[in-house]
């Protein structure tokens, strides 16, 4: 047996390698650089690395190449997801730079970058092994990141995430072993063999695999971890987690749906996922109603939002895929933007995420309140934001793919969610006599910049759909 690894294989991994090496450099710089430049150095190095990786990544957009014998597939599909993950990483690193503590900033940023590596690996993963490696790399770094705050809630979040995520990984791994047993190969492409349609190992294994996916996407009833973990984790980590985990896992799921399905089983194999997505849209939005912490509320919101994205994939149409990616991109910006505003008004104890603190925000900082309103409108799916058009697009594809009931769940869920978002907006524009300002962080301009960029993106995406229009992402 010979192994042929060419330079093309290495180029395929280049963006991930760049991010990983950046993380190592950030750590080394933290060891050897003087203390007072630590923060600057870590942020600058990380941002530089991410930008270089994103530039490098873009070049592969028009390619279609299966590296390492099909274990890692580069093409429009992986590039789009990797870019979204890099954007999430950039936004979160900037937020961490804005509000994080000096002494652990390098470690946190390095972990975040490694976590992004895992998600990027998932975006291009073409074999069960790469998927598992990506998920674990993503999760292991996130366990540590969750605990990176001097609060008992942060430690608790890390603990809960660790236990529950490991259990879900266990189920997923067992499912992967069964899929391997069914096809005799770890490549996703080999699962398309029509003979497998009658093999119970494929069905049970596929089911357990989908359990793992559902957990990472935090679909009801595998969602229980996400509100607690989102609430407990440090704010930039929550921002990162809410986007990167979803983006990576959605890529894996999409590839599984579009490129790893024996003919004729997709409807039956994926039905539970669509049901669970429908339940998530309703339950996630209902869960938002009674929350009084922004991070927790956004966790429930995320549960519903991922349901919307899955609804676009239902039916497995090419157009649905494009719309799901569009919505994911829009969601990335509105979510990061909302977290940036939360970071803006947050103090060291992160009381900024308490909804009570948003009362009277419009008096203290009209700009922050206005930006936050845009993000909330986008999350609710109201015009003129990308969230509105994303939802319209998803509805148009869901109905034509024959999943009208998912469309109805989306509409009902949206109706419920309006109430919750309106509550925050109302609170922000209430007059509050006891309004007090928090001690500002030294790097708050970074959070402002990130919020403004996100706001522009959320509005501009409405009018200029990204280049997805020209090249349908390649899925294999």
């Amino acid at each position: 047996m010979t192994v042929n690894v060419t330079s093309a294989d290495w180029y395929a991994l280049a963006p991930i390698s760049i991010v990983a090496i950046t993380a190592l450099v950030v750590l080394l710089a933290d060891l050897f650089a003087p203390k007072h430049v630590n923060r600057y150095l870590a942020i600058v190095l990380a941002v530089l690395g991410i930008v270089v990786a994103a530039t490098d990544c873009k070049a592969a957009y028009a390619h279609d190449f299966a590296a390492f014998g099909g274990a890692f597939i580069v093409g429009g599909f992986s590039v789009v997801f990797q870019e979204i993950i890099l954007i999430a990483a950039l936004g979160s690193v900037v937020l961490y730079g804005a509000i994080g503590k000096d002494d652990r900033i390098a470690g946190a940023i390095a972990l975040m970058l490694w976590s992004a590596c895992g998600a990027m690996l998932m975006a291009g993963a073409g074999s069960l092994m790469t998927i598992f490696l990506g998920i674990e790399l993503l999760s292991l770094a996130l366990y540590c990141l969750c605990g990176l705050a001097d609060r008992p809630t942060a430690r608790e979040a890390a603990f809960k995430y660790l236990i529950l995520s490991s259990v879900a990984s266990g189920f997923m791994l067992y499912g992967m072993a069964m899929l391997f047993g069914a096809s005799g190969s770890v490549a996703l492409a080999d699962l398309t063999n029509p003979v497998l349609a009658s093999n119970p190992l494929l069905w049970i294994g596929g089911g357990l695999f989908l359990v793992g996916i559902s957990f990472k996407l935090s679909l009801v009833p595998f969602h229980a971890w996400s509100p607690d973990v989102y609430e407990g984790a440090p704010l930039p980590v929550t921002a990162f987690m809410s986007v990167a985990t979803k983006a990576g896992t959605l890529a894996v799921f999409a590839r599984f749906v579009y490129a790893a399905m024996p003919s004729g089983v997709a409807d039956r194999l994926l039905l539970p996922i669509w049901i669970v997505a429908g339940i998530s849209m309703i339950a996630g939005n209902v869960g938002m109603l009674a929350q009084h912490d922004l991070k927790r509320l956004l966790a429930y919101s995320g549960i519903a939002q991922i349901g919307y994205m899955l609804a676009a994939l239902a039916g497995g149409t090419a157009l649905g895929m494009r719309y799901a990616i569009f919505y994911l991109a829009a969601y990335t910006f509105m979510n990061l933007g909302a977290f940036a505003i939360a970071a803006l008004i947050s103090d060291d104890a992160e009381q900024g995420s308490r909804l009570a603190n948003y009362r009277g925000l419009a008096q203290k900082s009209p700009a922050a309140a206005a930006l936050m309103t845009v993000f909330l409108l986008a999350l609710a799916g109201l015009p003129p934001t990308a969230g509105f058009l994303g939802k319209i697009l998803i509805l148009s594809t869901t109905a034509s793919a024959g999943y009208v009931w998912l469309g109805i769940a989306l509409i009902v869920g949206t109706a419920i969610s309006l109430y919750a978002y309106a509550k925050i907006i109302r609170a922000m524009y209430q007059r509050d006599e006891h309004a007090h300002t928090h001690a500002a962080h030294p790097f708050v301009p970074l959070a402002w910049a990130s919020a403004i960029v996100c706001c522009v993106a959320v509005v501009v995406l409405t009018f200029v759909p990204p280049a997805l229009r020209d090249v349908l992402p390649l899925v294999r």
């Binding site: 660790l162 490991s166 266990g170 067992y174 005799g184 190969s185």
Partner: protein, 104 residues
């Protein structure tokens, strides 16, 4: 598939027994260390399955996967231990059920 002296189904049965001992352990035990051990049990049940199928199919990918899982499981155990220590350092009891500051 290659012929095996012990039928493949026996490996599958054993591994699922181990797996569900792990699941039950996570559900019923209240000591976090034992919960972590139960999770390791789930991972190793999957390893056994990988090995059995790799042998049956004559495909080394299963072996490699098992090595990968061992490495990952070790990292997970280390991180898990670290988190458990930080969470319970100030606690009076080492009990999973005591960790419930956040809810709703």
């Amino acid at each position: 598939m290659l012929p095996m002296s012990v039928p493949l189904i026996d490996y599958v049965a054993l591994s699922s027994v181990i797996f569900f001992i792990g699941v039950a352990g996570v559900l019923v035990r209240r000591n976090p260390l034992i919960v972590l051990m139960s999770i390791e049990l789930m991972f190793n049940a999957a390893n056994l399955l990988f090995m059995a199928f790799a042998r049956a199919w004559g495909n080394n990918a299963g072996h490699i996967f098992a090595f990968l899982v061992i490495t990952v499981a070790a990292a997970e155990a280390a991180i898990g231990l670290a988190i458990v220590v930080t969470v319970f350092r100030t606690a009076r009891h080492v009990d999973v059920d005591d960790v419930s500051l956040m809810k709703g």
